[in-house]
Amino acid sequence: MDRDFLNEIWLQFETEAMEHCTSSEDLLLDANLNASEETNIDSLFRAFHSLKGLFGTVGLDQTLELTHLVEDVIDKIRSREMLLNNQIRGVLLKCVDVLKNVISSSSQEREEIVDENLYIVKQLIVSIKTTDFHVDDNLKNIERKDLGDPFSVSDKSDRFATVDLESLDFLFNKAGLVYSHVNVLKRMTKLNMEDAQFIENVDKLIDTLQTEVSSLNQSITDLRLVSVNSLIRRLKRDVFETSTNLDKNVEFSVTGDNERADRTIINALSSALMHLLRNSVDHGIEKNEERGQKGNGKIFLDFSKEKDGLLIKVSDDGKGLDRKRIEEKLRQLELLSDDDIRKLSDTQLYDFIFQPGFSTKSDVSETSGRGVGLDVVKKNISSLGGTINVVSDPGLGTKFLLKIPNIVSTEDCLVLSDLKTIYAIPTRSILWIRSVSHVDFQKHPTIRSIVHEKNIIPVHNAHDLFGNLAENVDELEEKIILINMNEKAFALSYKGKLTYSEHVFDEPDILVSKLPFVSGTTVDQDRNIIFRANLEKLFEINERAA
């Protein structure tokens, strides 16, 4: 029998077995799964039954045995001999993890996984079936043994094709390049006025080309978009485990999970959302006895489309943020005077929970604490070019609002570092950079100017506009930078260090936005603040003068 056929068999086995595993996981995480929902229990039973068949088919007899034990448990739940509680759910989910590990491993690793984990899980299952079932001890036992990260198992049943990110990036850049070349062409035809008919035809052609290329650009952008749905299973699992560990009854619901975002964003979002949800279970939702009449804690996760991005809401119906405790903490940290603290509005005060080292819980909890706070979440979100805010009503709950762009736009920039503050100019708006000695200046009585496309462009000194810091730059040659965007041009003279680097800029905050020429801020590796030059404002200088 040939190798190809054997490979095909294994691949098919992996695909089918993984499908049954993920559907079992989904069913187990479904809050409505209990003895009264017979169809779901039946589906769960069928999934495990099929898994049993699959393991038998490929001769994984030990794994088959485990699956058989699980099937027995589900059968007991189905016949109402046993009640499905969160602890049993937890055990069954662990079983699914082990099965996933077995399925996705190579044949050698499989032996090891079976040796290490199968025995423990089997003991657990056996202990479920006995009357003196102490799942707590058993679960601790299994955690110590560490099954590995259940999420490291790749989802073979993912509906999205796996595309090499590198080639995607290549296409992405390529399309951008073609796009800008077309623009250059368009400009060139405007200069050539010899044959009107010819130019008209070329113009038409270019317009078509431009539409084609922009649609190409769009479809490639779309290729990079992934449904947020791919995050949901692990988030549900996380909420389930956190609430079980803390012994809180929590109902978790997700809406808008068909929205899509760039892959980079989806990947980066997962840890931020996981942290926020753990935070909601741990700090937002009260203990069962405190809730009393309010019943089960409710946590909502909602995705919706916004202009240019994604709006994510993480909310709970817990006790809300405690103004007094945050005030206390602020006093402790001695960040503000008592008077100032009292003057803060709720919104301003709540914003402090995103400060580093800010945790109102005196004992940093294992679950959501882990030594990091909401400041890390905020940093994560900002690095994506997004924002995070919190609103809270005492007694009603807390809501985190995240705004995330669909695409992380890193900008390739020319960085002018010998200024009072470092300024960056997006390179795609720069037409050329020349030493003064290579520039033909216009003979103009008062202002130094150059000629660009038959227009006279005055040269402005960067050090005057942005603030001077340069002291030892006398020996450096002065450079002229010609900025060109949307048919507008601006010439800048600058003496100092020039570098190229890629940056993701944040929206300027209230203080910075008062500065005349800033359209964004970021921080470089050496923690220097970099301002993105606001080109529109620069062009306005010339327009005002004209």
Partner: protein, 136 residues
């Protein structure tokens, strides 16, 4: 007995893995000129409306329409030999009794065991012998 070039077989199983394995076993016999596949009972019946087959390898547990339902229909409408290939078809199970009442021509367990190069030889012999005996 039909000539080899006319003999056709239909494999009905919701698992593509199982269909692959059964196809491999049957293929090695050089006994059939054509192998059809269906994912469930309904698909099998639809296929039988248009194509005449001589043998059906039928799984029991399938979504949409299971093997027992399908067998009932097949017996009403078509003249074809049917072998039940299912892990539920073991002796003593209630399915096995049902299947016998519906007069399957043969009942056999699903092939299982280690996946290695001798796979088809090891697993397939029992099924192959059963198929041959049906057409002798």
């Amino acid at each position: 007995m039909n000539k080899i070039k006319d003999r056709k077989v239909l494999i009905v199983d919701d698992s593509k893995l199982m269909r692959l394995l059964l196809k491999n076993i049957v293929d090695g016999m050089k006994f059939f000129s054509k192998i059809y596949e269906a994912e469930n009972g309904k698909e099998a019946l639809d296929l039988l409306e248009l194509n005449k087959v001589d043998l059906i390898l039928l799984d029991i547990e399938m979504p949409v329409m299971d093997g027992v339902e399908a067998l009932k229909e097949i017996r009403l409408k078509h003249d074809v030999k049917v072998i039940i290939v299912s892990s539920l078809a073991q002796l003593g199970s209630s399915y096995s009794v049902k299947v016998k009442q519906l007069s399957a021509d043969g009942v056999i367990d699903k092939p299982s065991g280690a996946v290695d190069p001798s796979l088809a030889a090891k697993r397939g012999n029992e099924l192959r012998n059963m198929i041959k005996s049906l057409f002798d």
